[in-house]
Subunit: 556 residues, 2 copies
C-alpha cells in the first residue's frame, strides 16, 4: 500500500549498532567496547559544598531516569544476544559530580538566564571500563546539568540490568552556539502549563536552552500583566486559559532549573487585534474585512503606533511585562506590520499629520520607545527580521534578530551587523505541511511541504555568511505556530523533529572533527532519543517501522 | 509569521451558531429554536423487554457522556449570553428508547456483524420542545445505538445546565452506505489494545462501522493464530507486542458492542516477509537487496505461492485465523505482488515448471485456494484492487474490492462488476504528507501532500460511475499506514479528519435534500465533534485557532 517516490536514491549504508546513542553529539567523545553495568547500589555523589537546590534536584532526576527509562537497545533482539556479556560485566557503583576547583557555587537557574554567550555549559564526563568511579566535572552547575543529561543517555536496559556496551567513555563537551531554541505560540490555541513544562523537559533532554514564548497574538491574550489585567480578562479565550503571574513564574523557574531561558514575545504592533476588546480606541482596522487586506491572518487589528495614548500604553505594558520574567531578553516581535491598515485608519493618519511624520518614521519612533522601555527593565530586545530588513528603523546592534521568512535572509541581516537566530520557515517550521487551515480552502499551506527531520537536519548555519559574520549567528530554533495545534498534538508535532535543530546548534555546523552532518549516521541516535522520550512520557512520533528502528541500514 | 497562499479565494460566508452540531448529518432532521434543558433527574427509559447487555451498556454510556461531556457551545461567550433563556427553559426528564413493535430483540453485536447491506441502522428520534418525553425508536438495537449517539450530540453545557437551543428536534436517520470504515496497520508499528479500543470509541461516535484491521505485514506478525503460534512468537516485535486470541476477542466484542465489524487482513502473498522467521522454506526473496527490486518497501519477502507446501500453509492459516473473528468478511490483501521476486526465485520457477503454470495462473490458483479456505469458514473475501485490475484471477462477484491506488480506479473495478470500497490514497490516506520515512531520503512521500479534511470531504462516491453501478459502492474508509505512526500520534493523525469520510458514507453523496456537501457548512459541526472528542479523551487536533472555532465565518 505504498509507492516509493521515483526520486529515491538507493544507498546501502553500513551503520553499526547504536553504542553511541547520545543526542546531541558531544563535541568530543571517545568510547570503548567494554560492557559495564550500573551497580544495583549505584549512586551519584554530588561533591559540591552547599549545592544549589536546582542542582540537587537535577541529580535526583538523573537517578530517577536511570531507574525508570528502561530503554532496551535498538538492535534486533534488543540486546538479549549480549546477555552473558552484560551479566559478566563489571559494575559502576558511583558517579562523582563536582565543580572545577575555584568555581563559584551558583545555581543552574542563575546561569541559565545570563546573557547569551556568557553562560558556561561545558562539562567533562568519564566512565572508566573497570568499574572505578565515573566523574563529571564542570565550571558551573549548568555544565553539570548538561553532563548529567548526557550520562543518562549512555545506559540501556536488559531485564534488570542497566548497562553500556561502550566503556570506557570520555566526553569533553560544550555547545557550538549559545542559542538553541524552541518557539511556542500559545495564542492561536492555548497550551496548559503542564504541557509547556513537558515541552521544557524534552527540550532539556536534547540540551535546548531557550523557550521563545510567543505568548499572545491577535486571536487571544492569555498573559496576565500586572496593571494590565484587562488584556487577559477580556482577551483570553476563557478564564481558565490564562497564564497568571504565578504560572509565568512557575514556567520560568521550571525552565531555568533545566537550563532554559524563557524569552517572552508580545508581538507589536501588527499582531495585537485582541487588545481591542479592552482598549478599542488604541486599535486600528479592528476586524476589518476582508481581513486579508489588513492582516496576515484573521482577525485584522493593529496598535495605533503613531498615537500618543497607544505609545504610552505600549511602553508601560512592555515595562510591566518585562518585570515578571527573569530573562535578559524580551521580544517586541514586529513582523507582518500591515501598512494598509494604517493608511485606512483616520486616527493614525491624523496623528502622522499632526506630528509631521511618515509611516516609517512613526514606526521607528514606536519601536525605539518600546525598546527603551525594555532597556529600563534591563532587557535586550529581540525582533523579527522585518524590523531590520523592511523598515527604516534605527536599532542598536545588540538587538537580536529572528530570521523567519527564508533561510536566505540570514545573510542580509548579518550584512547589517545584527546578531541573528535562525528560525527559517523553509527549514524549522513544525506546522508546515498540515494543509491550509482557513475553512473553505482545500489546498495546502503557504509553507508546505512538511519539514522532515532530514530536511531540518540539513540546515547549514553559516550558509552565505562570511567568516567574519559567523560570530553573529547566535543559534537557531524550531517553531510551532499553533493555528492547527494544541495540547492534543504538541508532542507529536514537535518531537523528535526538534531534536534535529538541537543537535545542529549544540554540536555545530559540522559533526566533531569537521565531519559533515549525515542523516544516515544520525538516524540510529535519533531513534534512540525518540524511544527514550516515549519512555519518559513525551509522545514523540515513530520515525520508521520498528523493523527499521532496530536496523536502520535496511531502510534506506 | 504566516503567509497566506496566493491561491486563496476569499469567500465571506454567513454561518449561524452551531445549533445543529450533529456529525454525521442525519438523513432528515428538523429543528426549532426553543431552549430546553436536561432535567437534573433526567433518565433514559429503556422500554425493551429483556434488553441485550450491549444495549443496556450503550444506554449507560450515553448517560455517562451526558453527564461528563461538559462541552460548551462553540460560539463567542460559549453560550453565556443565553444564560437567562437556559435557566428559564423547560426541562426534559426522560428519553424513552424502544424497538418498533414486532421487532425481534437482538443484540447490537449480532447486528453489527451481519452481511453488509443487511444490517439495520435506521432510527427515529424526537425531542419535543415542551419537556414531554423524548423518544428514540428503531427496528434493531444497532439502530438504537446510532440514535443514542445522535442524542448525545444534541446537548451542550453552560455552568451546571445541559441544554439545547434547537427544540423541537425530529430526526429520521439511516446510513447511505453500508460500509463506513477505518483501516489501521498494526504491523509497521504496534498499537496496544487500549489504543485500538479508543479508536473504536471515536469511530462509533461518528457512526463508522468497519475496522479494517491490517494486522500483520512484512515487518512484524503480532497476531496469534491458533495452531500457528510460531508466526507471532518469532515474528512479533516483542513478546509484549502481540494480539493474543483473547485480545482479538476483546477487540472484536468491544467493536461489535459499538456497532463495528472488524475485518481482519492477512495480506498475501506479497506482504509476508516476516513469516520467513518461522517458515523460511516457504518464502521467496527474503530480505533480498536492493529491496526496491523485490518489494514495495523493506524488507523483501513473499510467500512461494506456487509451491504446494506454501499453498497448504496459507490455506490452513487463513482457515485458522478466520475462526477467531466473528465478521463475515476476511481480507487476503493481494496488493503489490512483486513478480521479479518470483522470477528470481528458483524454487518458484521450478514449481511453475513442474506444474506447467504461468505466474498468473499460479497466482490465480493460490488466491482461489485461500478464498475457498475462507469460504469453508463462512467468510466472504476482501481484496485490494490489483487482484482484479492487474492480474488474471477469476473471482466471484461477491468479492469485496478495496480501491486504493487512485480514486479513478473505482470505475475500472465497477466495470468488472465488483462491489467496491473507496480507500483511495489521493483522498483518504491519513499518513500522506509526513515526508519520506526512508532514513537517507530528505524528500516527500509518494502520496504527498497531506490530505486535509477539506480534501477528504470533497470526495464524490459516485464519480465516473454509471447509475447502474452505484449499488456496487459499499462505502469507503480512511486508512492509517503506520510507518511513521504508533500510539504516540494515533489520535492526532486520525481525528477529526476521519470524521470527514464518516459523514460522506453515512449521509451520502450529497447532504440531505440533495444539497451538495460544502466545507463551509460542515466546519462548525466538525469543530463541535472534534471538541467533543477531546472532552472524551481522544486527542483530536485543533482545526483552527480557537478564535475561528467559535466563529468560523471569520476565518475563510
Amino acid at each position: 500500500m505504498v509507492r516509493i517516490s521515483s526520486s529515491l536514491v538507493l544507498v546501502v549504508a553500513l551503520v553499526s549498532a547504536p553504542c553511541r546513542a547520545v543526542w546531541p553529539n558531544p563535541k568530543a567523545m571517545t568510547t570503548g567496547s567494554t560492557f559495564l553495568q550500573l551497580s544495583p547500589s549505584f549512586t551519584i555523589n554530588l561533591a559540591v559544598t552547599s549545592p544549589p537546590s536546582d542542582l540537587t534536584a537535577a541529580v535526583a532526576r538523573t537517578k530517577g531516569f536511570l531507574a525508570t527509562d528502561k530503554l532496551e537497545r535498538l538492535v534486533p533482539g534488543r540486546g538479549s544476544a549480549d546477555s552473558a556479556k552484560i551479566t559478566a560485566a563489571k559494575q559502576l557503583a558511583r558517579l562523582t559530580v563536582s565543580l572545577a576547583s575555584g568555581s563559584a557555587v551558583t545555581s543552574i537557574s542563575s546561569e541559565a538566564v545570563k546573557a547569551l554567550g556568557s553562560r558556561v555549559e561545558a562539562y567533562n564526563l568519564t566512565v572508566p571500563a573497570d568499574g572505578s568511579d565515573a566523574t563529571l566535572k564542570a565550571q558551573t552547575s549548568l555544565g553539570l546539568l548538561r553532563g548529567l543529561t548526557t550520562f543518562e543517555q549512555l545506559w540501556h536496559t536488559l531485564g534488570n540490568a542497566t548497562y553500556t556496551t561502550s566503556a570506557p567513555i570520555a566526553i569533553q563537551d560544550a555547545p557550538a552556539f549559545p542559542y538553541r531554541g524552541f518557539m511556542l505560540d500559545t495564542a492561536r490555541n492555548f497550551f496548559p502549563v503542564a504541557d509547556i513544562k513537558r515541552t521544557l523537559d524534552a527540550m532539556s533532554w536534547v540540551k535546548m536552552n531557550v523557550l521563545h514564548w510567543h505568548v499572545v497574538d491577535s486571536q487571544s491574550f492569555p498573559l496576565v500583566i500586572p496593571g494590565f489585567e484587562e488584556l487577559s480578562t477580556q482577551g483570553a479565550y476563557s478564564p481558565t486559559k490564562i497564564y497568571s503571574v504565578a504560572d509565568v513564574q512557575d514556567i520560568t523557574s521550571y525552565a531555568a532549573a533545566r537550563g532554559i531561558d524563557v524569552i517572552v514575545e508580545i508581538d507589536s504592533p501588527g499582531h495585537m487585534s485582541v487588545i481591542s476588546k479592552s482598549h478599542p480606541t488604541l486599535m486600528a482596522c479592528v476586524e476589518a474585512t476582508p481581513w486579508s487586506n489588513f492582516a496576515a491572518e484573521p482577525p485584522a487589528g493593529q496598535l495605533r503606533m503613531a498615537s500618543d495614548d497607544a505609545i504610552s500604553f505600549a511602553n508601560a505594558m512592555f515595562k510591566a511585562a518585562a518585570s515578571i520574567v527573569p530573562s535578559k531578553y524580551f521580544s517586541t516581535g514586529g513582523d507582518e506590520v500591515n501598512s494598509n491598515c494604517y493608511t485606512q485608519d483616520t486616527v493614525t493618519q491624523a496623528a502622522l499629520k499632526s506630528k509631521n511624520l511618515t509611516f516609517e518614521q512613526a514606526l521607528s519612533n514606536f519601536v525605539s520607545g518600546t525598546h527603551k522601555s525594555l532597556a529600563t527593565a534591563g532587557k535586550t530586545p529581540v525582533v523579527w527580521e522585518e524590523m531590520v530588513l523592511d523598515h527604516t528603523i534605527t536599532l542598536p546592534n545588540t538587538t537580536v534578530v529572528l530570521v523567519w521568512q527564508s533561510s536566505t535572509n540570514a545573510a542580509a541581516v548579518a550584512k547589517k551587523g545584527f546578531q541573528l537566530v535562525h528560525a527559517p520557515s523553509d527549514f524549522f517550521y513544525l506546522d508546515c505541511g498540515a494543509g491550509e487551515w482557513l475553512g473553505n480552502d482545500i489546498g495546502n499551506s503557504w509553507c508546505d511541504p512538511f519539514k522532515t527531520w532530514q530536511k531540518m537536519y540539513s540546515f547549514q548555519p553559516f550558509q552565505n555568511l562570511t567568516t567574519a559574520q559567523h560570530s553573529l549567528v547566535l543559534g537557531g530554533q524550531n517553531l510551532l505556530w499553533a493555528e492547527q495545534s494544541d495540547a492534543s498534538n504538541l508532542d507529536s508535532i514537535a518531537w523528535p523533529r526538534s531534536a534535529a535543530s538541537a543537535e545542529i546548534f549544540w554540536t555545530g555546523a559540522n559533526q566533531p572533527n569537521g565531519v559533515p552532518r549525515n542523516s544516515t549516521e544520525a538516524l540510529p541516535r535519533l531513534h534512540d532519543i525518540r524511544f527514550r522520550m516515549v519512555q519518559r512520557g513525551v509522545k514523540a512520533i515513530a520515525l520508521q517501522p520498528e523493523y527499521c528502528a532496530l536496523q536502520p541500514s535496511k531502510c534506506t
